[in-house]
Structures are given as structure tokens and as C-alpha cells.
Symmetry: C2
Subunit: 465 residues, 2 copies
């Protein structure tokens, strides 16, 4: 890479371009073309969503992209929060539409009119569905690949429950699911409850999973929302209770997006390029034959190794003729393949292969009898090491502060005591030129940084993307 | 089912609703909600697309949904053919957009500006990509689930080649791929070259795969287009040849859609509901325990069978307590599961299971030692039988005619001699109140049904959906 990771914003753009995750030259601002390698990474994450949410009793559906204005406008807070950032379809051909259509910014308003038809009695509950779709936001702020875009690759699950307790139970389950997703992607995070003025439009409360990027700015990579009956009342989603009376359902949602790819790029990458966690890497092992002599025999052996690995791993044999091994090392390091397997004349002689870790660059000579087992161990170790390393880096960026002036300069999350009032909250934001990204579960006794009142609430203060 | 298949249009709507493939009550005309069972079927087809096109050296990408008006309008014929049926995005929030955006009706105009950046020299060719996305058409005709909708689940591959010969070679390869897809879905078809006035806007020529629905109307279920240099010239997609000169690339595309699901529903279904080909069925085998006595032991055995089958097949154990076996039979027949496995007290005693084929309703008693092998055989037989049966039905609906009056009444494809002129073509269409859906490869000597000129060209004349 030409740009060191210390210069994070430029490094981030360069690595995305050079590793060919997306092509940003698409002629609409904030919309990019997913290239094969980037799309494979995104799809591996999608497939994990499918697996984990199916295990947790969700079913996959697909709702239409376009939402009629009339349905879109049913929940007051929701529409007020979103109406400035939705795209409007106004014409079919040259004909103005009778009812304007919104490109879904998220799918509550598409789904819930149907929920009110699907849900009749308590026997229809709980209802748990998810979909993986693209959503659209007319972003007016500066766009940034994966992080702030106008067409967003999106995961959303929606559930409906008989009681508030059951929807709270779902929130806890969603947090358990999130922990598995974060582990799969080797991403460290903190969970926070959003401040009231910052929750999802229409939600009763919102929980965010926040990570810290190398720039010190925070990135919200998952959100879990408790709606209770807010939307059910707007969309008339009622069920017949066992006692013969009717009640509105209680709803939750869970959203994640291509931001996860942005987090993987930013958090694990280094001066040589991407470092992709083995569990979701498009290619887990690249085989590079070192050909100086005995070309035929080495290629044959490399092919044999590929065949041995293929049933168990995502493996790629780079047998291109017109590139040197050095060039190939460079390219696959840039693309973040977790493990490189080299095989050359000396390895052939010694009945061994060479394994090189992408995370530590450690080189391991290993006999052909044991190499399969070793690869399994190494991929596991790399996955764990990436998470451990990232976790440590993130923790170092979370610091307690008493003085708001110092918070201004801090790169990361500042932990600040706060009385919890909206007024003091906004003042903290003003004085630090940052945002309260949320309130963690941890308590700490102290005095509010603004009004001096005794409190055990802390706010996480940071500059979010 | 309440409606017999003889009443095809109503049967079609009923079976889709009752088998829960989609929910048509979404409040935008021509857009429906894919329900879990229908979406699994569609996704199984998508996964096969991924597999087969990857084997044929295509890479998967994702291009944005929205195409700027300026790019959309570059190829004259293309835009004239489509401009009346595209949705226009005109506003972001309350702000009118500087450049209006089209919801892709297909992705030529999104992709080819990027192709002109990607392709530099002959070494960049051939380029072969595909994507699986939803596309949008503002249909003014009557909509019909899967067949004519406004949001279409779509597969599209796009290739670029150095020479016309190479793009012709790709067309032949696309036909080979299509044959595999059709076999996988057990769909019979005929291949026709579209009449000049009916080809895809901007294409040099178009090939359609057409099948015949039980109504006698034809359904185009795949299209393969030869563009040659038409789009390359409009989008300036040039490459450097080995001799140092530049030339425009030669392009082809291949499109398929959710119409394939419509064809599966219509062609294989019967009076009891859907019949889904085993290769793509969401559930291949449903296990129904017949519980009269020994509930525990039977359920245990059913679970054991499920575990035995799971590694090899998509299997579902229907162990619901509150439904009779009869109700379950009815429901899974409606949903078209190819094979039912029953296990009751007598089967337990005799160490056997009962297998029931969905296509023929044949009942087979088979010992527990052989049942696994038998299931493999039966699924293969069902797959083949569905195709054979459908193929026979379709062939019976293709008939030769001399008299255009008789063509009018024919339910299916009428084979009519035609001189090939546009004038006579349109007259044939007028007089039969049908369309020339295309020209097959087969020749037949005769005289043009309009002008009487000697010709060996035949037209396929039918009423297409």
C-alpha cells in the first residue's frame, strides 16, 4: 500500500479500491458497484445471518422495495425522522403516479400493513421474520464507502409478541445473536442504550453496538429496537387474547448493514492491506507454487493440495504463469487472505509446505502428514488473535474523563458522568463538539459534568461516523 | 383445492395463495410479498444460477438500483423500447434531484459505463459477470403473479468479447447453460429467434425459451441476446487489440426471472396443488408420523429417520400435535412436496416405512434397510417423470396449420409457414389475433400463409402471456 494506516481516511479509501471490494466510480454519489471479491465477502456475512437467524426461529421473506406514501406516513415520529432522507418515485413512464412511492429506508412501513392481516390470535405469535435487502437513504452528509452510502446492503429482522415481557425476552435474544455475529466477524464492540433524542424514529428505546475505528471515531454496526406497541397502534396490529379480549402486539427489530464490512476493513487491516477474519474470508487459504525448477511436479503437487483442502476450506490455487511469487504474495496480502501456503522445490524434497499467517506474518514449515490439521489450528488462531488484538485496541480507546475540555481531544470513547437530563446531555455535546453515542450498562458514581448533580449514569461521548 | 386445474387462471391464483408462495395483498399493484416457502423455492433456483454460472466462468457482482437519466438515455433503441415502462425517482426528501434516476428495468445502462472503464485491452476479455437483483417495470397491462409483475426477481448475465465469433460462441454456451437450468427445473421449452420487431430494445437478435402453460398461452422463461457492438458504441466500450488498433467489444446477455416459478406452478401442478421438482423443492421429503398408539416410540423413530435423511436431503418432520395425519397429507400435497414418508405402528412392527410419490400418488412399502437408497431413486424418478410428462403435454400443443382461421382457436403453438417479411408477419398476427412468438430452428417447406411465396421458414404463432 502507498498510504500507511496511520493516515486512516486515505488508507481506507485506498485499500478498498486496491483490494477490489467495490468500484466507486458509479455515476451516482454514494452508490457503488460491488465487485466479485467484495460481494463474496458480503455474501458470506449474509449466509451467516441466514444460518443464525434460522437457528433462532426466524423465517426469511422478501417485501417489496416501494412503499405507498399513505402507508409510509402512518406512524408520526417515524415519518418525521425519515421524511427528509427518502427517495420518492413520482412517475411511471411519463405518467404521474396517483400515490407516490417511497424507496424503503427500512421496512416497517412496508411490512406492518401485512402484519395486521397475518396476525389474528395469540396462536399467530410470536412472529419472527427477516430479510436481506438494499435500502435507500438520500444522505446529504459526506458519503463514505460502506459507512455512509445512499444504497445500503441491509439485514433487518422484525418480531411481534403478545406481551411486553416477551418482546423484552426477544431483545435479550437479539443481543445473544449479535454476540455470535460479532465473534464470527472478529469485531469488538460496546453496547449502549441510545439517548432519547437519538433513538430510532418510532422506537420505545434503541440499543446500539458501537465499535471504534482507527481514526478514533465510533461506528454503529448493529441496532436493536424495542417498539412495544408504537407501530402496532399506527398499523392496527391486534391479536385475540386467550381471555377473549384484544390487544396490540409488541414489536422489536434488529438491523445490520454493509457497515460491518467497513468495520472489518478498518479494524483488522494493516499497512499491507486487508486482513479478513478466516470465518468469513472469501478465500481462506491461497496456494502459491514457487516455481524455479520442476514446474510440472510442483504444479501437480499444488493441485493435489488444493484438492485435499477444497472439501474443508475456501481455497484458491494461484497458478498464474505470468506473475512472480513475490507479486502474488503482495496481491493476496493486500486482499487479506488469512493464510498463504507456499510449495517450492525444497518443500517437495522435504515433503513439507510453508504456511504464512496474514495477521503476524509468521512462517511455519510443516510436514505433509500434519499440514491439514495445522491449517485448521492456524485459521482458528488467526480468528481469535484478530478479535483479541482488536478488542485490546478498542479498550485502550475508552477512557474516563472529568474535564470536558480534554474530551474534545480524545480519539475514542470518553466516559463522562451525566445526570441523564436532555438539557445537560445537549450541553455535553456542545462543549465537547461530540455526541453522546449512548449509555452503557456500567455505572460509575460521580457528578454530572454539567450540573454537578450526583449520579451513577455515564455517557459514552465520541465522534460517530 | 376448491378450483380444478381445468379452470387454469383461477386455479393458478388459488394455488399460489393457499400454498403460501406469496401474499398478493401488498398495497401496490403488481408487487407482492414473498412468503418463507415461496422465497425458499426462489432462493434454491438462485443458488443453482450461482453454481452453474460460476462453473461457466462468470463472477457475481452487484450494480446499483438507480441509473442516472443521462446514462439511461445513451442507447437510442434501448431507451425508446423502455422509456414508457420505467419508474422515475425525482426527489430526495423534499429536494428535486438534479439528475432524475431510473429504477433499473434491466442493468445494461447501469453496467456499461463501468465496462468502458474496466475494459482496456484484449487481456481484459472476455468479461463475464452476473447479478441476481430485482428490476422494475411500470406495467400497464393486467398483472399476474410471477408472470407479469412490477417488481421482478431477476437474473442477468452480461458478457463482453473481442470478436463477433467469440460472442456467438457465448450465445451457444448460454444455450447449453439454459438446457441445464431447464432440466433442473423440469421445464419443457422451445427455443425461438424473436422476430425483428420483437427483439430486445438495442439487441442485434434475441433468442427466447418459450414454454406452454395449461391455458395454451405461451410464457417466455429465458432470453438470450446478441448485442454485437450496439451498446459498446453507445457506451464507448473499446479495447486495444494485439495489432495496436482499437475496436468496440461484442456483448451478450442472458436473462431469467421469477417467471420460472410461475412456470413450475402452472406446468407441474394438479388438482391437489403444487408439484415441485425434487431438485429445487424447499422440502424434498416430509415425514408424517401416524400416531394412534405408541406415540413416544413412533415420534422417536420419526426423529431418527429425520436425522438419517438430513445430511443428504431437505427433509421436514411434521410432528405437530394438533393436526391429523389426513390434514397433514392434504397440506403437504398442496405445497407440492415430492415425497411423503409415513411411519405408524404397523410400520414400526414390520421395520418399514411407507413412501408416497406426489407425482403419481403411488404408495411404496419399503424396509428400513433399503429406504434410504429407495428415496434417492424415487426423487430421481419423480424429477424425470415431471419433465417427461410436461414435455409430452407441451409437444401435443404444438401443431402445424395451413389455415389461419384454425390457428385462432388453437390452444398452444401453431406452426405456420411464413415468408419472413415484416408485412406478412404482422398480417399473420392480425388475422389470428395472436403473436409470432418467434422462429424455431426447424425448417419446413411450404408457402407463406399470407403472400403464398415458397418458403422453408416457419413462425410459431401463439398467445403469449
Amino acid at each position: 500500500m502507498d498510504i500507511p494506516k496511520d493516515n486512516f481516511p486515505e488508507w481506507y479509501n485506498e485499500v478498498i479500491e486496491r483490494a477490489k471490494l467495490v468500484d466507486k466510480r458509479y455515476p451516482v454519489k454514494g452508490m457503488h458497484v460491488w465487485l466479485p471479491y467484495g460481494w463474496k465477502l458480503m455474501r458470506n456475512i449474509d449466509e451467516y445471518f441466514r444460518k443464525i437467524f434460522t437457528e433462532h426461529n426466524h423465517e426469511e421473506v422478501y417485501f417489496p422495495l416501494l412503499v405507498p406514501e399513505t402507508d409510509f406516513k402512518k406512524e408520526g415520529e417515524h415519518i418525521r425522522g425519515l421524511e427528509n432522507e427518502v427517495y420518492w418515485v413520482t412517475h411511471g413512464g411519463a405518467t404521474p403516479l396517483d400515490v407516490k412511492l417511497v424507496l424503503r429506508p427500512t421496512s416497517e412501513t412496508a411490512m406492518y400493513p401485512l402484519f395486521s392481516l397475518w396476525i389474528r390470535t395469540h396462536a399467530d405469535l410470536p412472529l419472527r421474520i427477516f430479510q436481506i435487502v438494499n435500502v435507500f437513504r438520500y444522505e446529504t452528509k459526506q458519503t463514505r464507502t460502506f459507512i455512509r452510502v445512499r444504497e445500503v446492503h441491509f439485514f433487518e429482522s422484525h418480531t411481534a409478541h403478545a406481551t411486553a415481557e416477551e418482546s423484552e425476552e426477544q431483545i435479550r435474544e437479539n443481543i445473544e445473536i449479535w454476540k455470535k455475529v460479532a465473534k464470527k466477524l472478529a469485531l469488538p464492540y460496546v453496547l449502549v442504550k441510545k439517548a432519547d433524542w437519538d433513538k430510532f424514529p418510532g422506537a420505545h428505546y434503541s440499543i446500539g453496538a458501537e465499535t471504534i475505528m482507527p481514526s478514533g471515531r465510533t461506528l454503529q454496526i448493529a441496532t436493536i429496537h424495542q417498539y412495544l406497541q408504537n407501530f402496532a397502534k399506527a398499523y392496527d396490529i391486534k391479536y385475540l387474547k386467550e381471555d377473549g379480549t384484544h390487544d396490540y402486539v409488541h414489536q422489536t427489530t434488529f438491523g445490520m448493514s454493509e457497515r460491518l464490512v467497513g468495520a472489518i476493513v478498518g479494524i483488522h487491516g494493516d499497512n499491507r492491506g486487508l486482513v479478513i477474519p478466516p470465518e468469513i474470508a472469501p478465500i481462506q487459504i491461497v496456494i502459491v507454487p514457487i516455481i524455479m525448477k520442476e514446474k510440472e511436479r510442483i504444479l501437480e503437487e499444488a493441485k493435489k493440495i488444493e484438492d485435499e483442502l477444497k472439501p474443508y476450506y475456501r481455497v484458491y490455487l494461484d497458478d498464474r504463469d505470468n506473475y512472480t511469487p513475490g507479486y502474488k504474495f503482495y496481491e493476496w496480502e493486500l486482499k487479506g487472505v488469512p493464510l498463504r501456503l507456499e510449495i517450492g522445490p525444497r518443500d517437495l524434497e522435504n515433503n513439507q509446505v510453508v504456511l504464512v499467517r496474514r495477521d503476524t506474518f509468521e512462517k511455519i514449515n510443516i510436514g505433509r502428514e500434519e499440514y491439514m490439521e495445522k491449517i485448521g489450528e492456524l485459521l482458528k488462531e488467526i480468528q481469535e488473535n484478530l478479535l483479541r488484538r482488536a478488542e485490546k485496541e478498542m479498550r485502550e480507546k475508552i477512557k474516563k474523563f472529568e474535564n470536558l475540555e480534554e474530551v474534545k481531544e480524545h480519539k475514542g470513547i470518553a466516559v463522562v458522568n451525566w445526570c441523564g437530563s436532555e438539557e445537560c446531555g445537549h450541553k455535553i455535546e456542545e462543549l465537547t463538539d461530540k455526541k453522546i453515542i449512548g449509555i452503557p450498562q456500567e455505572k460509575r458514581k460521580g457528578i454530572c459534568a454539567i450540573c454537578g448533580k450526583e449520579t451513577d449514569i455515564v455517557a459514552y461521548v465520541a465522534k460517530p461516523y
